[in-house]
Symmetry: C2
Subunit: 499 residues, 2 copies
């Protein structure tokens, strides 16, 4: 319902002296043509993040941080339902403490940032900046845990961590500092720890599929790919449009490895001293990278309603003679939507044209736009614009809040269905290492039987252009078949290149 | 309403093999007798924090972190009402960037922790771990701000900061790493920045007085005491029971100092390039220290209801023959309280006696306890126990939720009134430096006219046992009088020793 008069208004650009800066102009590449450049442009132009003068570190600008806050709220509520409590442990880990668990230190040392001086003073012992907090936490756990009464101990921490990667940085996906939550639990029995690992994996799965609308494959990591120091690692993996897998969250059964290294023990109900079983698990700001890649298009970001900081934007088409009436109705719709718990903004800036605003909100991926001009008012209607499909629908004013709410639900479901379809289409069965390599070359995840050994993994990696196993399915029914490398018993496993 | 049968039950201690550990036994010192040791014991025994092997750093255990989460929610909502948006900037600041604003670098350099190595690689340039984020943020601001359209820019960040103090550490009050929020805003005019400074100071004042129930004196810092790099600093100061002042939050007008150093400018509405005005402001986890000191007593912590993670604890008195009925009623009361938005727990642990539970919840400062035994059930009543006054009240079961809710309000107000009274009693007018010194010796805040100069401040400090100016009042009416040191025009100022 855009009238020609409105079109003219939309075309009027702001004056030269105060022209909107570069970030608000559209993308100059198409997603399928240069995926990497497309990603970089979306990150910057949708105002998500910016580079800094600290190599490999970035600023989370308010828009991406607001997405992270949404994810935090959702995760935090689910953790608290399980009885997990938040705490905060030091950023620093003394070198001697950091080195207590052999596999762990081997896995993380190459990427540790070290503090050596404070003011003008050289420290007696170097301090690692936490790449993960097992070592600093478990020293405390060894003091706090005395009896079975203290178990299970269920602790989570929201914090920054530092891993000084030397690979090329990529905002959200690979930065030297990132934000995450790390959960750490201690249990009386192996079974309880196993159950905790799975309860968390299920939460990660729910967040990915129901909130981020990203279909994932869950499973277990191979020996080669598991967390340094863990008994086993479970993971959820998503498939990005460039055919690479992206790990969205991991949940580790640590067994008794750390308990042994840090001397954690408890007096059991049977009166005997025992060693507990531990888990750790984390989801990080890298999932924002997955969100961008999974749903974005040639016009910019596309956000699923369940995670969008702004779910609906109302853009009133403003003319001097009808401005007051249009803004009043826009405000009324806003209030109706807020009553339905929809996050909504009215973009009433007079220094930008409606057309310019449409482009900006599409770039920023707001799921639903409501357009409202004087002609619409006359017809007692408004126009709903779906960001994901670009479909427009004219609805009666008295039903606009209900229609918007319904459409948000449809967008959420539709984005997930599309993602599920892409994941399924992106999987190629492979009966040999050659077929694994062919699938990977074809930008797909190869689905093949695999024994899980480091030796077979190395062979796949060499022959399939650096691809590795992403996850070995946990589903019992699929647990039969001969490893495509060695022929020994294996389970269905997904191979691919990864971020 | 404790029956003799119930008293016997309360006395029965858990068996030797699973005796509750040390933290749950009561305090061994009285608050007025050894305030410092009392503080240390409350922190540890109420399960708030623990020491770590990183010198000067502590663990925020779940109970203190839950208090911090409450403070975060309250502050965050108020900031968002002002239009402030959360973001996240890097932990690291390259040395060259850190040194751009001369006064700022001088103020913070002695306490900076430096990262020099990553993995095995020596970095080209040392990285400061943020003691505060002006320098890293304003480099970005200089890129982001182009025109008046971009202003005001209102950013806040929740994060950890590191200040490597060499003084003796004290949990919450002085630790090398702490948590805080730091707000950073950019405005077109000095007036707008002044207004922002005051808006934030008012928020800090509200949180201190209405949520933490701590009476504060607000004002302006002297030249000597202001933030390194600021035009002026405003502050809220509380008086602790040992006569020391504790700074609860500061809000700085930065003027154009940083804009100059970082090259931040904007095209004004008048078409001319201008330099903006900036503010920064922060409140940290040290306010938890103030909370402990201000309200605690010989039995432990006392939390104001508005900030308590658990506002009401229901302790059912359990006997085999009536357990089921008592727990059912406890659960019903819990649900009634939850409907009234009261945070409530039922302590139904069977391995601890009621008496042991009473002591533990008093130690942890839960504002209100509801006791419920079989005799109470017969009389259709319950006993409410106020933590702050130790007063007991028997109320009818059908009115217990309403009574509890009302009592929580009374506790909140009563704690604040007590704090206000203590602050007022703790202030001694002083007409000379000698009288300032006498007041300080007497563990009071001295109230005296002061010109604000560094020279006069140094003289007070020397003669009054290290006391300094805590804040100079902003109230116009009080702004007349001769400085007790130099006789020049001064304003009413509070002097004292400080944390």
């Amino acid at each position: 319902m855009t009238t020609s008069k409105e079109k003219t208004a939309a075309k009027t650009a702001p004056g030269k002296d105060d022209s909107p800066d570069k970030k608000t102009t559209g993308l100059t590449v198409k997603k399928p043509e240069d995926f990497s450049e497309w990603y970089t442009q979306v990150v910057q132009k949708a105002d998500l993040a910016d580079y800094t003068s600290v190599s490999g570190c970035m600023v989370f600008k308010p828009y991406s941080y607001a997405i992270w806050e949404k994810i935090q709220q959702l995760l935090d509520a689910k953790f608290k339902q399980l009885g997990v409590k938040n705490a905060y442990f030091p950023l620093f880990i003394p070198e001697s403490l950091f080195k207590k668990e052999a596999e762990h230190v081997e896995g993380f040392t190459p990427e540790v940032a070290w503090v050596t001086h404070a003011g003008d003073t050289k420290l007696d012992e170097r301090l690692a900046i936490r790449p993960t907090s097992e070592t600093i936490m478990y020293e405390s756990f060894s003091k706090w845990i005395r009896s079975w009464r203290d178990l299970p101990m269920l602790i989570n921490q929201w914090c920054n961590v530092v891993r000084w990667e030397f690979k090329y940085p990529k905002p959200f996906i690979r930065t030297r500092e990132f934000l995450w939550q790390e959960g750490h639990t201690v249990h009386e029995t192996a079974k309880q720890a196993d159950d905790m690992v799975m309860a968390i994996l299920n939460i990660y799965n729910e967040i990915a599929e129901q909130s981020l609308a990203i279909a994932v494959q869950s499973g277990r990591k191979s020996e080669q790919e598991k967390f340094a120091g863990a008994l086993y690692t479970t993971t959820i993996e998503a498939l990005m449009p460039d055919g690479k897998a992206l790990q969205m969250g991991t949940s580790h059964q640590l067994g008794q490895n750390f308990a042994k290294a840090f001397g954690i023990s408890f007096l059991g109900k049977d009166g005997k001293h025992q060693m507990p079983w531990q888990t750790s698990w984390g989801m990080s700001t890298r999932v924002i990278g997955a969100l961008i890649m999974a749903h974005g298009d040639d016009k910019g970001l596309v956000l699923p309603p369940n995670i969008a900081p702004v779910q609906v934007v109302i853009v009133p088409i403003l003319f001097e003679d009808s401005k007051k009436e249009v803004l009043a109705v826009a405000e009324k719709i806003k209030q109706q939507l807020q009553k339905e718990n929809v996050t909504v903004e009215v973009d009433d800036r007079e220094t930008y044209t409606a057309g310019w605003k449409f482009n900006e909100w599409e770039l920023k991926g707001v799921p639903l736009r409501i357009e409202l001009g004087p002609r619409d008012l006359q017809g007692k209607q408004a126009v709903l614009f779906r960001r994901d499909t670009a479909a427009k629908e004219t609805v009666k004013l008295d039903g606009v809040a209900a229609a918007a709410k319904k459409m948000l639900g449809e967008i959420q479901q539709s984005l997930y269905n599309k993602s599920r379809q892409q994941l399924e289409n992106g999987i190629a069965p492979a009966k040999s290492v050659t077929e694994v390599a062919a699938a990977v070359k074809n930008k797909k995840l190869a689905k093949a039987y695999f024994c899980g050994s480091a030796k077979c993994e190395a062979e796949v990696k060499e022959k399939a252009d650096g691809a590795n196993s992403r996850c070995m399915t946990l589903d019992d029914e699929e647990k039969k078949g001969k490893c495509v490398v060695c022929g020994k018993e294996g389970v269905v496993t997904y191979f691919g290149k990864s971020y």
